[in-house]
């Protein structure tokens, strides 16, 4: 800082150079817009690339054929069925567990050390790499419980993986229900559980479902933990029971990408289109649910 002989700021310190500073600011705005555009552009390129590579393999036969060594005959039947089973099983396991845990933490848990531990633990689990859950599944479900490389072992592993997501979403939904609803329930003579069951839970349900759908979308896109528990990459049958081997769409895609022949890469692109379409459906469902919720209930 230039100062005058008296130690006071001189006029030069107040030179605003406003035009330059504003131009810099504008430049920076352009830069930050560019960052967003790069993200969106990559997303667009990725989708365009996959569609260009895989569009022509899409057919009814592609959906209903088993994988094959001959690429032109290979389809995603076993993967599609496996993904569907995994989806249903994870929903059946993780949804009740996650909602129950959320209700406990949000509505009943005392302010204790144990509660604090559970809460920190959940936020930590959400950031554990998915492949570590695979190692957990391998050690516990596949080996210790001796479930083998089965559908149920995969479903249990993925359930644990998405559980923190469901719990966090469900807690947020429960927290959004105003206390007055609970007080009204209690004032009518309902017990705490009856209040939760008949007043709070129905009000929070759309929010909980939205979170659960997004968690399920995550589960059907996961590859690494299922590879780690030993899900087979080449399965030319559909599982008949919970204890049968299985494959899912992401694993089938991985298998086809790993092969050198370009014809298999096209099959992989086709399967990616199917997978992305399923995920888009899920996300659409979640958005629709959220919109409905915002319209219907206003506290």
């Amino acid at each position: 800082m230039t100062t005058t002989s008296q130690g006071l700021p001189s006029d030069r310190d107040f030179a605003p150079r406003l035009a330059l500073r504003k131009r810099l600011g504008f430049l920076f705005g352009v830069l930050s817009t560019l960052a967003i555009v790069i993200g969106l552009l990559t997303l667009g390129t990725l989708i365009a690339d996959v569609v260009r590579d895989g569009w022509h393999v899409l057919s009814w036969d592609f959906l209903t054929s088993f994988p094959s060594r001959r690429p032109e005959q290979a389809g995603i039947r076993s993967a599609l069925v496996g993904t569907f089973y995994i989806l249903v099983l994870v929903a059946l396991i993780a949804f009740p567990l996650g909602v129950a845990a959320a209700i406990y933490l949000e509505e009943f848990a005392p302010k204790s050390r144990l509660t604090a531990i559970i809460e920190i633990n959940i936020s930590n689990l959400a950031a554990v790499p998915s492949i570590v859950y695979g190692l957990l599944g391998l050690g516990v479900f596949v080996r210790t419980f001796m479930l083998g490389r089965s559908l149920i072992a995969g479903a249990l592993t993925l359930s644990l993986l998405v559980l923190p997501i469901i719990i966090v979403a469900a807690r947020e939904a429960l927290r959004a229900v105003p206390p007055s609803i609970r007080e009204a329930g209690l004032a009518l003579g309902a017990s705490r559980w009856q209040t939760v069951r008949h007043f709070v839970l129905p009000a929070a349900l759309p929010g909980i479902l939205t979170g659960t759908i997004l968690a399920l979308a995550r589960a059907i896109g996961e590859t690494a933990p299922l590879i780690t528990i030993g899900a087979l990459t080449y399965v030319a049958f559909t599982p008949k029971s919970l204890f049968d081997p299985f494959t899912v769409l992401p694993i089938q895609i991985f298998n086809w990408i790993s092969r050198p022949q370009p014809a298999f890469h096209e099959r992989a692109a086709g399967a990616i289109i199917v997978l992305l379409a399923v995920l888009l459906l899920f996300n659409g469902l979640a958005i629709a649910l959220r919109a409905r919720l915002q319209r219907r209930i206003r506290f």
């Binding site: 967003i36 690339d49 957990l136």
Partner: protein, 324 residues
């Protein structure tokens, strides 16, 4: 209450008294049943909440057990100092460094993409874009985070690598560069969304104060908003690093399976996660040393990400203490 009934009121008949009594005891029974049922339900809810704790215990137990067996065969000094990783060859070396350097190289490239772009995007969304535009763009940007990683692997191997090979002819088919670039784009929404949350939490009065002093928008952003939300932004950055270190499918597909001790991003390397995938794809029998290696590598991975997560959590907590 008097025992004598009032003259005007007829004394309750025996039947009526029994009726009242029945209701009262019935009420009590209902209360008791309700109480028992409620505590049972509460117990079940509590057990569900404990599943998450059990999961952590399960992870630590599984990893620790097999890692313990592993270190009965391999000295921990070799594991931490040897620069060769060849458990699947006849001449076996168990040095974690090749896997670690590969992880570091690819994560660094990813961060060089995700951190500046993510921060810029966050500033754009929180400070420059109108709320309506931000509300439209943000969900689209978040689709990037929802795309399965196996799809990014496809994109890196079959689109980005051929594209880059036009400019860098010596680029191998499997390399850390494409994997890192694509991973960076994948992590961008995480950085953007968490940093934006942090910047939105900065009180409006701070911005207004700076404007009143004659600052331009850029100066408000860089000298007020970013410094005020720095802990939150740092927390986002650390979480992004943790995500990059644990990312699996992109590197397993696009980076190859050659455990090589190098920092050159143009050649094939194998990260910790890719090694676990490689062994899992083979049929490695339980109890062998190859089987135990993936748990030793998994433990290393788990410890690194755990430290990063806890660090991020601390920064976030510090940030929250200031403004919330």
């Amino acid at each position: 209450m008097t025992t004598e009934p009032m003259p005007a009121v007829e004394a309750p008949s025996i039947d009526r008294r029994a009726w009242v009594e029945r209701i009262l005891t019935g009420r009590q029974r209902v209360d008791r049943v309700r109480q028992v049922r409620e505590s049972a339900i509460l117990g079940l809810l509590f057990l569900a909440a404990l599943v998450s704790v059990a999961t952590t215990i399960g992870i630590v137990y599984t990893l620790a057990l097999e890692t313990f067996h592993f270190f009965q065969h391999v000295s921990i000094v070799d594991f931490l100092t040897d620069t060769q990783w060849t458990p699947l060859f006849t001449e076996k070396h168990y040095g974690i460094w090749p896997l670690l350097t590969a992880t570091i190289v690819v994560s660094t490239i990813a961060m060089l993409v995700a951190l500046p772009l993510g921060l810029l995007a966050a500033i754009g969304l929180s400070e420059y874009a109108s709320p309506r535009l931000a509300a439209t763009v943000k969900p689209i940007l978040e689709i990037l985070a929802g795309v399965p990683t196996v799809v990014y692997g496809y994109f890196a191997l079959l689109f980005v690598t051929p594209l880059l090979q036009r400019f860098i002819p010596q680029l191998e088919v499997f390399n850390a560069l494409s994997a890192g670039l694509v991973m960076g784009i994948m992590i961008l929404p995480l950085v953007a969304s968490l940093s934006e949350d942090a910047m939105r939490a900065v009180p409006q009065s701070l911005r207004e104060g700076a404007y009143a002093l004659g600052a331009t928008k850029l100066e408000v952003v860089w000298r007020v908003v970013v410094p005020s939300s720095l802990s939150g932004i740092v927390a986002a950055f650390i979480l992004a690093v943790s995500r990059a270190v644990g990312e699996t499918m992109i590197v397993a597909i696009a980076m190859g399976q050659v455990p090589r001790f190098t920092l050159n991003p143009l050649v094939a390397m194998e990260t910790m996660t890719a090694y676990i995938v490689q062994v899992s794809l083979g049929d490695t029998p339980h109890g062998t040393i190859e089987y135990q290696t993936i748990f030793a590598v998994g433990t290393t991975l788990f410890v690194i990400t755990m430290v990063l997560n806890l660090l991020s959590y601390r920064f976030l907590k510090r940030f929250r203490e200031v403004y919330e």
